[in-house]
């Protein structure tokens, strides 16, 4: 990195938070379209196998799904509150709130782990003898279930890493009441993770 370019990298001599957020929104669009591809596949197969999707969905535990939905919605609240906190200059409150968000994200993953684990125990996973004996629509349903919630869980994990980075930035005063666009971007990412779950939850757990 050249010395001048380093200065440029710090913000081109002047700060442009609007531009930084524009870039973040564009990135979020690409994430939405990534999942959009999955939603198209889901729509196509749901259309061609409506009854089998219906039957397969009864295998899922609505209670676990609901608890995870509540966890994620709450985590979106805490990350939004952390931004307000830093705007008001309350550094450690902001730090704690992001920490809460991370804890909630981990709770979501633990829940997910047990949910998937249970499915594996009863032999509902791609390639299992039990699943292969079921009609194609149910195989597709569980294929999509694992791919879509798996990809979402991967985003939760990335989100945890991002939020942990935000905690570090807050602690080191890289995010302050005068410069918090990074936290806003991190928060936006976390809301994306949340909103995708808002669509996954009814599609897999409630439509039966």
């Amino acid at each position: 990195m050249t010395s001048g370019a380093a200065a440029v990298a710090q913000g081109h001599g002047h700060r442009d938070d609007v531009g930084a957020k524009l870039g973040m929104w564009l990135f979020l669009f690409t994430e939405l379209i990534l999942f959009g591809g999955m939603f198209i596949v889901y729509a196509v197969y749901r259309f061609s196998h409506p009854t089998e999707f219906h039957v397969a969905a009864t295998e899922l535990d609505t209670l676990v799904g609901t608890i995870n939905t509540i966890i994620l919605l709450t985590s979106s609240l805490t990350v939004a509150m952390s931004i307000t906190a830093i705007q008001k200059g309350n550094k450690w409150l902001s730090f704690t709130l992001v920490g809460f968000t991370v804890m909630l994200a981990l709770a979501f993953l633990v829940n997910k782990y047990f949910e998937w684990g249970h499915k594996f125990e009863v032999g509902l996973y791609p390639g299992s003898a039990i699943l292969l004996n079921k009609p194609p629509g149910e195989i597709l349903y569980f294929g999509l279930y694992y791919v879509m919630t798996g990809l979402h869980a991967l985003h939760v994990i990335i989100g945890v890493v991002v939020l942990a980075g935000m905690m570090m930035f807050i602690a080191k005063d890289k995010i302050t009441r005068h410069s918090y666009v990074r936290l806003e971007a991190g928060g936006l990412y976390w809301h994306l993770v949340d909103i995708i779950w808002i669509f996954l939850f009814p599609l897999f757990y409630l439509l039966h």
Partner: protein
């Protein structure tokens, strides 16, 4: 194009000679300077391009005689797969935007760098990792992928070759492409110099802007699709496997939802380069500036809605087929607008025949042939006849190589003095242009004839009646390669031996010609204030008027 003073101090070192934090190779691979990143892309891309050229040359050699000439059928399958993957994901898609877009776009809009310089460097690293993955897949046990660059299921799920690393490579390269697009959109929105309104932007920037939107909006779809194929191979999820209820045609839809717009990612910057270079050597303001700018956006928009014309023979509904055929025809309107405007720009210009212009003239002619054969392919009745034949291969090589490839060569010869601060020799450059143009047409024109007569693409063997055409075509590949070698040798030798280039060797009016060659680290000492459009050649036009 501006009134404010440009500071072109000779005392300020150019970006090659500034003091850097790291030394040696690290000063390059860790640099966030858009110019250095542009050159990094140029070097890596040239490497992959030459590898893919070599594979293409070997394929042509194999087709010299029916049956085996030099390699076995399986090797031929991996050749065309790798040729496609490398040419598309490692050369044509990043070619103009990542090399010349990176180097020139910030200068063209009067900025010191792109908006996210570190993200820009990350894009290059992802590009490099993707390229290495593609190369590694060749040498791992199991053999190189043999699916063709389209990775069609169910074969891509069943074959035992290294499809997985190739898929991962394409995925990584897609991610790199998305980040470049995102960076460019943000840069163009937020960093234009004062006075540089949207309609004072150079047309190359307009085309990069349209391209960037396609990169951002279309690439994620191919990302998820390739990911699904990977998961299919790893876990047998069943989404594309007919044995488990999946639908392979759905894969084709998802693949082309990206990959057709990707065709416009490839060609739009090429069209932008033509619009950029023509007015300079015609010494005329570009004809129909706004139409050219809007037509880029129109191509990007309509081009996103035509994907299923790759799939007319898979058994879609008649309604679907008609709609996609109609939309395909619509794309020709903005494309033709560009061609007409270019011709009108040349009309009554004070044309100066320089090397970049020669490449541009070849571009226009070859792009027209590629475009018209595209219309033939979009026609339902003809499409059934020539689907999956050499006709299709001829068509997309005319657009991609005859168009974008030549556009890239033109850009190389146009911006070379700015990028490297030296002039190349004109004689060898003209000779290389001549050989490349002749070689290209001798190589690919017989494809149309063979395809129309029924020669299927991707076949290792052929019937004896095609031999003459195949041999003419192979001869063309040799002429082409000679031209390419001369061009590259000339450019490489001139790096050291060429005479020093002044700031504005072509008499261009856009901003890059107002800064020294090569530019200093932050491009502009002082951000310029823009007061006119980008191609103001009124002084030449006045002279022409007075002469009458």
């Amino acid at each position: 194009m501006t009134t404010s003073a440009f500071v072109t101090e000779a005392t300020e070192p150019d970006f090659y000679h500034v003091r850097t934090k790291h030394k040696g190779i690290l000063a390059w691979v860790l640099s966030t300077d858009h110019k250095r990143i542009g050159i990094l892309y140029l070097v890596t891309m040239a490497f992959f391009f030459l590898t893919a050229v070599l594979l293409g040359l070997l394929m042509r050699l194999e087709m010299l005689t029916p049956g085996k000439t030099i390699v076995e059928p399986q090797a031929y399958n991996t050749f065309f797969t790798l040729h496609g993957i490398m040419m598309i994901f490692l050369f044509i898609i990043p070619g103009l935007p990542a090399v010349f877009g990176n180097f020139m776009m910030p200068i063209l809009i009067g900025a010191k760098d792109v908006f996210f310089p570190r993200l820009n460097l990350l894009s290059w690293w992802l590009f490099l990792i993707g390229g290495i993955l593609a190369l590694v897949s060749v040498f791992l046990p199991g053999g190189a992928a043999d699916t063709g660059w389209t990775f069609y299921v169910p074969y891509s799920v069943r074959t035992t070759t290294n499809v997985l690393p190739a898929l991962l490579a394409a995925f990584t390269l897609g991610f790199s492409s998305i980040l470049t697009g995102l960076n460019f959109i943000t840069t163009i929105h937020r960093m234009r110099a004062p006075g540089m309104s949207w309609f004072r932007m150079p047309l190359f920037v307009w085309s990069l802007y349209a391209t960037a939107w396609i990169q951002v909006l279309a690439t994620p779809i191919v990302g998820i699709t390739l990911l699904l194929v990977s998961l299919e191979r790893l876990f047998g999820v069943g989404i594309f496997d007919p044995a488990l209820g999946g639908d392979p045609v759905l894969y084709q839809h998802l693949f082309w939802i990206y990959s057709h717009p990707a065709v416009y990612i490839m060609i739009l910057p090429g069209l932008g380069v033509v619009s950029e270079i023509l007015p300079v050597f015609a010494r005329r303001t570009i004809f129909g500036y706004k139409f050219i700018a809007y037509s880029s956006l129109a191509i990007a928009f309509v081009g996103s809605l035509v994907w299923a014309h790759h799939m007319f023979t898979v058994g879609m509904s008649n309604t679907g087929v008609f709609v996609f055929s109609f939309l395909t025809f619509l794309v020709s309107i903005p494309s033709a607008i560009k061609v007409f405007n270019w011709i009108a720009t040349l009309y009554k210009g004070s044309i100066e025949v320089e090397v970049p212009l020669l490449f541009i003239l070849s571009f226009i002619a070859q792009f027209c042939i590629g475009g018209f054969t595209g219309l033939m392919l979009g026609t339902l009745a003809i499409n059934i006849h020539v689907q999956d034949t050499y006709f299709v291969v001829g068509h997309f090589h005319y657009v991609m190589f005859g168009g974008t490839g030549f556009g890239l060569f033109a850009a190389m010869h146009y911006w070379y003095p700015k990028m490297f601060g030296r002039m190349y020799k004109k004689g060898p450059a003209v000779l290389s242009w001549l050989l490349l143009t002749i070689g290209f047409n001798v190589l690919y024109f017989p494809f149309f004839v063979m395809g129309y007569l029924g020669m299927p693409r991707r076949y290792y063997d052929y019937l004896p009646e095609f031999q003459t055409s195949h041999q003419i075509s192979t001869l063309g590949s040799w002429i082409l390669i000679v031209g390419l070698v001369i061009m590259i040798a000339n450019l490489l030798i001139s790096l050291r031996k060429g005479r020093r280039a002044e700031a504005n060797p072509w008499g261009g009016e856009t901003l890059e010609w107002k800064v020294p060659s090569p530019p200093p680290l932050e491009n502009f000492h002082e951000i310029p204030v823009i007061t006119t459009g980008p191609y103001d050649y009124s002084k030449y036009e006045r002279v022409v008027q007075e002469a009458k």
